[in-house]
Each structure stands twice: as C-alpha cells, then as structure tokens.
C-alpha cells in the first residue's frame, strides 16, 4: 500500500461529458506522482447527509497536481457531487488500492471497458503508451447500452489504439454485447494476450470466463461498497475461489482472472 494523503483540493475543471457523465479535475493533489492506473481516491461530500466517502478511479493525472475522475450520476452522492460548483473544495483520500500490472511487451493488450469502468482503463492505455508500448498492440473494446454510454471517444481514438466500440442497440459501433467481438478477436489471434477489464458485473464475469476458457491471463478491477477504502473495516470483501475473503479496497480492486468468485 502507498501511504495515502488526505488533501483538500479545488474543483478546477468541470465537464458534463454526456447525460449523466461528468469529468471533474481537482487540484492540487500532492501525491499525483504516486498515482498509477487502477488506483482510486475516496472523495468526501462534506456537510451533506451522505455519510461515507465515495470511491472513484483515477482517470488521469498531470505532473503539476491535477487529478481527474470521470463519474456517472448513480445515486444521491454522485448527484450532489455533480452539483458542486467549479472552485469548490473537496477532500480526497488516496491514492488507494493496487494498480494494474503492465503487460509484457510482447503481449497484445485486450481492454474490456463498460460504463464507469472506462476511466481506469483509459488511464492504463495512456500510461502504457507513455511507457513505450505500441498503441497498435492495445485493443480497446468499449461496451455500452447505447451511444450515450460511450464517452470520451475522441480521447481514446487520439491514442491511436485499436478502438472497438460496441452498443447493445447498435446506435454506435458494433451491435451486441462487447464480449462477442472480444471472443472473436481472441479466437482469431495467435499472439500472446492479456486482458484488462472494468465494468458491470456481467462484463467482468464474461471477461473472467473468456480468460479462463482461452487461457488468457489478465486483471479485473472490481467494485464493492467501501466504507473505508484503506483495509480497516473489512466491509468490502469478496469471496475468492480458494474460499477465503479478499478486501476489494486494498487486496484489490485489481484481481487476477480466475481469482475471485464473481
């Protein structure tokens, strides 16, 4: 675990991406240099009737202290967050959790993103490219119900990765569930591969199954209700396939394919 900090940061930039999706950039966060793809922060909603902090994956950081999260209005906490005015103060606890392990350089990277699972995977792709990975070795599958669930398209495209948008209603990209083109890709390729997935439970289950079925290793980023985020409450546990419990916040949120009972 990285020793986290607890910073009062200012909401520097606020963008309403689409419908209920927002990008918030906070500044200054003193530990940006320790942040890695997969890490998350716990964000406080002070003076509200929301009791706990809310966890959000880090979507990007800049070296001068900017930290971005991308979120969707889900319930009351995120609705109140969306109302926060630019210039407002928010306390961030982080960076928390484990980060993704980067693939080997000879591996094809299969990213399977869905909904609010998108931000940490975008961060992963950005960092990989910064670390010298060939963008063309990254296959970014991005699924949603409709075109409205596919955000920041141009940001992904600009990375030069292979971008495969998929929507259930066919309103953008391929029609259907994201797992079908992923499976086709795996079947058609004979390179070494590695899967990274974050999204709704159904997607994680499918990614896990595909990984096991085709012996493709990889990592999944999980969600759970997180009272603390630092490993002290034991509230966020999930069952592992070996029968023990793992805390999503600090034993995860990144787990290996095949590790967790999904």
């Amino acid at each position: 675990m990285i020793k986290p900090t607890c910073d009062d940061t200012i909401l520097e930039k606020k963008r309403n991406l689409k419908n209920r999706y927002f990008s918030f950039t906070f500044k200054p966060f003193s530990l940006v240099k320790k942040c890695k793809p997969g890490h998350f922060v716990q964000l406080e909603l002070p003076n509200t009737d929301i009791y706990f902090r809310r966890p959000f994956s880090i979507a990007s950081v800049t070296s001068d202290g900017d930290i971005e999260i991308i979120f969707k209005i889900f319930g009351k906490g995120t609705a109140l967050l969306a109302e926060l005015a630019k210039g407002g103060t928010v306390n961030l606890l982080g960076p928390l959790g484990k980060s993704f392990t980067f693939p080997k350089k000879n591996e094809q990277t299969i990213i399977i993103a869905g909904g609010v699972g998108f931000p940490p995977l975008m961060y992963l792709a950005v960092e990989m490219i910064a670390k010298g990975y060939n963008p063309k070795s990254i296959h970014f599958f991005y699924g949603g119900r409709t075109t409205d669930d596919i955000i920041e398209k141009s940001r992904i495209k600009k990375l030069g990765v292979n971008f495969y948008p998929v929507t259930e209603d066919g309103s953008y990209g391929t029609k259907g569930l994201v797992t079908k083109p992923v499976e086709e890709f795996i079947q058609s390729s004979d390179s070494k591969m590695r899967i990274y997935s974050c999204g709704p439970t159904g997607m994680l289950k499918a990614a896990d199954s595909l990984g096991l079925k085709y012996s493709v290793p990889g990592q999944l980023s999980l969600e759970a209700p997180m009272p603390c985020g630092v490993g002290i409450c034991l509230g966020c546990v999930v069952e592992k396939n070996d029968g023990t419990h793992a805390r999503v916040c600090c034993d995860g949120p990144i787990f290996e394919i095949g590790e967790i009972k999904l």
Partner: protein, 305 residues
C-alpha cells in the same frame, strides 16, 4: 504550560485518552502505514476468537443516515495466528495494546485470555461480551447479569492484568450489567458496543446486508452512548472508555464530560483514517482555552441544565 493528556485506567498509563475501537483498525498494520501510531493512547484490536473466523459473506456493510450497519461477523485470524503473526508487529508499536476477545462459549474466552497472558505487550484485555452464547441458547453473554459476572470471574483467573468489560447497549439496564461485571472483577468498562439495527432495500425487497440484523454505529448512536456512559458513571467508580459515534474533538469532550476517562473511535476512522492527528491537536487547544491542566478536569463535569 501544555495540558497533560495522560490518563490512567486501572493502573495502566496511556499517553492520551484516544483509542481505536475494536474492529475498526484490524490489527493496526494498515493504520500504521497511514499515521504514526504514537498518536494513539492505545490501539484496540479486532475481536480475537479461539478459532479463525471468515465472518459473514458479503455484502456486510450498508450506509444508513449518519452511520452504518455492519455484519462483519467477527471475522478474525484466531488466537494462534494472532500470536504468531500479529503480536510481533504489535510488540514494536509505540502505543499501548489492548486486545479485544470474543467467544461463543465461556471456555473459549478463558482459553484465549489465558494464551494472551504470556504476552506482556498486551496491556489489557477488552472483553467483548456482546456475543451470542451458544451454550445458553444464543442469548448474549452481556445481556444477562449472571452470565456477565461469571464471564468476568472466569477470565480474571487466567489473565493477570486488567480486564475491561465492553458493554452492550441492547439491554434494559446497562447499569445492572455494569454492576455485575464489576462484581465479577472487571477493572474498567467500555461503553458502548453497536446497537442492533436492520436496513432494507425498498426496490429489491432484500435486506441490505447478508444478515437480517447488524450492528448500528456512527454519529446516529452518539446520544445513546453518551447517556449510557453517564448512567454507568453515576453508578460505578470504575473508569469508563466512552465509545459511539465520535467523529470530532467536540464529541470527545462530550464523552469526557459525561464521565469517560478515555474514548474509542470506530466508524469515523472509515471517513478519515488520520482523524486522531486532528483531534489530539484540537483537544490540546481546547484544554488550553478552557484552562484544563489534565483530562481529569473534564471527566464527569457535565452539569444538568
């Protein structure tokens, strides 16, 4: 002059009256990564039982108004692993260690406490008597004065150092239970453990945690805890550790005024794991402002309006 934060509970001296609450800081490892444990008067461990316990399956926490509900189910590594893996780490910590002990039979409490007796770094035991007694039909040890007295007597025989009885709020008269514990040889009280509560999802019609019921903690229970601390303080001269919903320096002071000698903080650590640093600083400022030289200038000083 800097006010003196030291307090003494049953002969054990603590650098300050601020402690972690059991089950809210594991065995201290994670907190030690976050802030210097020397800031703590004492670290109170998660409840240790004879055998390891996985606890309840998830989901085991739910957020409620001004607090939370948990059904962790006393998940812990068990006494053997605690001794082999955790005590060596705790030994080295620059704070006092209180081990919280739980059981489902009296014999289990006795066995765990007797094993802990060998470890000098364990300053005190806090006895979690809010556990269902499987021998007696699942009634909690701490809900019956006779069982309470018997439990205390039994563990006092095998543990040389002071024992704190951690009292349940889910009783008709906490004073009656406190008296029974005192009779059994308790050296201090922790007041209170969590209330029993339930949460339901109106959409899915499911309970929000695995169990039908769980422990309610956080600011929601503070008024109940303050009243119980005050009631026990008014009927016993044993020192009290106040617990329940503390999340600010003002809360700490309220508990001291109601009769607590020290306090434990649980749920609030989940919102702010560095909370102790802030409270220690603000408590000193408050004491200076109010011209209190020691914590004892505050203990029990509440006045009826």
């Amino acid at each position: 002059m800097k006010p003196d934060l030291k307090v003494n509970i049953a002969g054990v001296e603590f650098a300050n009256p601020l402690m972690t609450a059991s089950g809210c800081c594991g065995y201290g490892e994670e907190l030690a990564d976050i802030f210097p444990l020397a800031k703590l008067g004492a670290l109170v461990t998660k409840s240790i039982s004879l055998n390891p316990r996985l606890g309840h399956p998830p989901p085991r926490t739910a957020e409620v108004r001004s607090g939370m509900l948990n059904a962790i189910g006393l998940a812990n590594v068990g006494i053997e692993k605690f001794i082999s893996d955790k005590i060596p780490f705790l030994d080295k910590q620059p704070t006092k260690i209180i081990v919280n002990v739980a059981g489902s039979k009296l014999a289990e409490y006795v066995e765990v406490c007797s094993k802990l007796n060998d470890f000098e770094s364990v300053s005190m035991i806090e006895l979690n008597i809010s556990c269902p007694n499987v021998d007696e039909g699942g009634m909690e040890f701490g809900s019956d004065p006779v069982m309470t007295e018997k439990s205390l007597k039994a563990v006092k025989k095998v543990f040389d150092r002071p024992i704190i009885a951690k009292l349940s709020p889910n009783v008709t008269s906490i004073v009656e239970i406190a008296k029974a514990a005192e009779q059994g040889g308790a050296d201090a009280f922790s007041v209170i453990n969590s209330l029993v509560g339930m949460a339901v999802d109106a959409e899915s019609w499911h309970t929000k945690i695995t169990n039908n019921k769980g422990g309610l903690t956080g600011p929601a229970i503070k008024p109940v805890a303050l009243q119980m601390v005050h009631a026990v303080y008014s009927h016993s001269s044993l020192p009290i550790i106040g617990i329940g919903g503390i999340q600010s320096t003002t809360d700490v002071i309220e508990f001291l005024l109601c009769g607590a000698t020290a306090v434990q903080i649980g749920t609030a650590l989940f919102k702010d794991p560095m909370l102790f640093i802030k409270i220690e600083k603000e408590l000193l400022q408050y004491m200076k402002r109010k011209k209190c030289n020691t914590i004892y200038d505050l203990i029990g000083k509440v006045r009826k309006y």
